[in-house]
């Protein structure tokens, strides 16, 4: 925006006004009504010129602001067809984050569900063996019992070997699966920057709109906040500790409900 340009134009206009005003007083005092009338005509033209120039500058500023939004759209269509924009880019990236986190969660749960039975059966078998082992220590086993125990321990040790190999492999895979956080983190950082850009562009547009209001003398009534009385859902709270109207944790939920008699 050529701020200095518009200031100079204002200065110029004011000087013009002052000169005309002085001449006007002079003509009127000398009863030169026709010339006075022509002067007023000139004044009006100067004012119109000035408005014209200001509007021209604002229009250029508006055009630049709109170009900065980088929105590819056919605005004449109803509804407008948007083929590309920073917001669209940000939305696509957020959808990617949803997809990636869902897939990582599913894969992790798959692995856990696969190894849980292994851990359980190892535990059960070792408990049964322990009972037999206690009997062995108390010398309560018969020769046949001992033979059974012998084979069973042998089998168990093999089971342990295989089982713990699978457990370790799966645990390692689960750690690797958490790598999604790196990818989603990068994508989210990019989204933050896109959204910040759009905010800057909007503020720019607001500034120009303010100047249009000044030039055209239009004022608008800002509407008060929506008071429909509907309690809006806000999703997970990220600053629960800073808000008085939000609970942080199950204990506070339970306290609130019991204080109301539920």
């Amino acid at each position: 925006m050529e701020h200095s340009g518009s200031w100079q134009d204002n200065e110029q206009f004011v000087v013009q006004l002052q000169e005309c005003a002085n001449q006007l007083v002079d003509k009127l005092q000398n009863d030169k009504y026709h010339e006075a009338s022509e002067l007023i005509h000139t004044l009006l033209e100067a004012r119109d010129d000035h408005i014209f120039k200001s509007v021209g500058q604002l229009t250029r500023g508006l055009h630049d602001a709109i170009v900065n939004f980088h929105v590819d759209a056919n605005v004449d269509a109803d509804p407008a067809e948007i083929s590309g924009s920073e917001i669209r880019d940000a939305s696509d990236r957020l959808q990617y984050v949803i997809n990636l986190t869902e897939s990582a969660a599913d894969k992790t749960m798959d692995k856990v569900e696969a190894i849980t039975p292994i851990a359980m059966s190892l535990g059960i078998e070792s408990q049964k063996l322990k009972l037999e082992w206690v009997r062995l220590k108390k010398r309560e086993l018969t020769k046949d019992d001992f033979k059974l125990l012998y084979d069973r321990v042998d089998g168990f040790l093999n089971q342990m070997g295989d089982g713990t190999d699978k457990l370790n492999k799966s645990l390692q895979d689960i750690i690797l699966e958490q790598g999604y956080q790196d990818l989603t983190g990068q994508v989210l950082k990019k989204v933050i920057s896109l959204v910040t850009n759009v905010e800057t562009e909007l503020v720019n547009l607001m500034r120009i709109a303010g100047q249009v209001e000044k030039v055209t003398g239009v004022t608008t009534n800002t509407s008060s906040a929506d008071e429909s009385g509907v309690v809006e859902a806000e999703g997970p709270q990220i600053h629960a500790e800073k808000r008085a109207d939000v609970v942080s944790g199950q204990d506070e939920v339970d306290d609130l409900l019991s204080s109301l008699g539920f």
Binding site: D106, G235, V247, S248, G249, V253, L256, L260
Partner: protein
Amino acid sequence: MKILIVDDFSTMRRIIKNLLRDLGFTNTQEADDGTTALPMLRAGDFDFLVTDWNMPGMTGIELLKHVRADAKLVSLPVLMVTAEAKRDQIVEAAQAGVNGYVVKPFTAQVLKEKIEKIFERVDK
């Protein structure tokens, strides 16, 4: 006991399903929104509803209100499991007739306690 789990995120439905299974409740079905859940509740003979709040078509609070307004479903025990933590919302849910309210993230212990509490009351 037949349980309907309603949440628009499949990962959360899976987690709740697993936790319920660990608690011995194996007869579960799922819905991804209030709009799909309500007909299932009306048609099936569910004994328990576990629902999220924030869902695109019909929210959990709307689902709860529909359930309480339906003669067939009016006394269906409903547990809300949700990230919504505003006091106003908790009060609204309680006034609409929810039987329990669990905030995310939650533990298996909390879920177990709330379910036990609900059915302890229902039996009495």
